[in-house]
Amino acid sequence: MENKRSVLRKFILENYLYTEDESALKDDDSFLDSGILDSMGILEVIDLLNEAFSIEVEDDEMIPDNLDSINDLLAFIKKKSLAK
């Protein structure tokens, strides 16, 4: 899971915050409320979940609770992995 956290954080830091400073992103920062990502950015993250972790996000799973922070994403990945 630590590797997944690192992949997710690197994706957000490099592509949306344009920094290598790890302190720029807290794991519980809301992407949407903090303005880090907009809804198009969330769709980019959904693509990343598929490409990096082979996770398909179903329509009814496309809710902020699953996708709106690093911690939300890690919990969602764990839930999806257990369901496999």
Binding site: S39, L43, D47, M62, I63, L67
Partner: protein, 328 residues
């Protein structure tokens, strides 16, 4: 339309239409005289309600002789739209031209880029098929995402959720339509020494339903402060042709018939007007829920969707960002 929606619109969105026409006309003249220094107005006429009202307001402001209409059909636009546009131009007595932009779009790759992206999602898509994109999620509390609907020549439909890259490519390709049209607007504006009218209504302007450098580009946007309901009322007040006053808002951009609510707003225009009006006037979710006959949870999702679209499209409104301020 529900009675509640009707009543709310009647009570809160109603205007003194003659006073509004006088105000808009006066401001258009002042803008031309004081800021733009142009001697007329170009209006791209789609056959829809917004561009029709804008053309009529332009005529009200400066007279038919100083307004030039451009009708720009292409492969996927409806022939009804062209007929309505011609009916309007003739009704207003303005000079106009019809410019088929399909060959330009073909040459620039609009249709090929779009079709290649569609085929990537639906490999059997080909000659004789039709398509459209539908938005889903936001008003149900989910992340907005986009579904592709295709119809084969026998009328069989299938719907697929689009990957982000395919969605972005399809939209980028179809945005050529609005941008090519805007090129034509400014060609005629330049040769005539006219200014260009942009036709977004308030909901479109507020929610970012326009193409940057396309229909979003203009010198004057005379109805950007008016809800769509008010635009329809203005059309009727100005006695525009009935076929225009009763036309359903469509994008007229995709080959399958596509309402603006399907593509972007998720709500029919009258309900979207109510939702935005309630939001702008700080009405609580209970008021919106009652007006639209939806649950308070759904009303909250609608408010959230309004905020999300504002955020997502904020950059469309921005002028070019400069590193240092340049005083002019």
């Amino acid at each position: 339309m529900s009675n509640r929606v009707d009543n709310l619109l009647a009570n809160y969105v109603k205007l003194d239409y003659q006073a509004e026409i006088d105000k808009i006309s006066s401001r258009i003249r002042a803008m031309l005289r004081e800021s733009l220094h142009r001697r007329g107005l170009v209006v791209a006429i789609s056959g829809g309600i917004d561009s029709s009202v804008c053309a009529a307001l332009a005529v009200s402001a400066i007279g038919a002789k100083r307004v030039y209409g451009i009708l720009m059909p292409e492969t996927d636009s409806s022939s009804d739209s062209l007929h309505r546009g011609q009916a309007l131009a003739n009704h207003l007595g303005i000079n106009y031209t019809i410019q088929d932009i399909a060959p330009t779009l073909e040459a620039i790759g609009c249709y090929k880029w779009r079709d290649d992206a569609i085929k990537s999602a639906v490999p059997e898509y080909g000659e004789g098929w039709k398509n459209k994109i539908i938005i889903d999620g936001g008003t149900k509390g989910k992340i907005n995402h986009f579904n592709l609907v295709v119809e084969d020549p026998k009328g069989n439909r299938q719907t697929k959720r689009l990957s982000l890259s395919n969605y972005l490519t399809i939209v980028a390709a179809t945005n050529f339509k609005q941008r090519v049209r805007k090129n034509m607007d400014y060609f005629h504006a330049d040769r005539l020494n006219y200014a260009v009218v942009g036709t977004p209504n308030r909901v479109e302007y507020d929610q970012g339903f326009f193409v940057k450098g396309g229909d979003g580009l203009a010198d004057i946007k005379p109805i950007a402060h008016l809800y769509k309901t008010q635009v329809y009322d203005l059309a009727r007040f100005m006695n525009l042709p009935e076929e225009i006053c009763s036309a359903t808002p469509t994008t007229d951009t995709y080959s399958l018939s596509q309402g603006q609510d399907e593509f972007y707003f998720s709500l029919p225009y009258n309900k979207m007007d109510v939702a935005l009006w309630c939001y702008n006037n700080s009405k609580d979710v209970g008021t919106l829920a009652h007006a639209l006959s939806v649950s308070e949870e759904q009303a909250q999702f609608i408010y959230k969707d309004i905020e999300t679209k504002r955020k997502t499209t904020k950059y469309l409104h921005l002028q070019s960002l400069l590193i240092d301020q340049v005083d002019l």
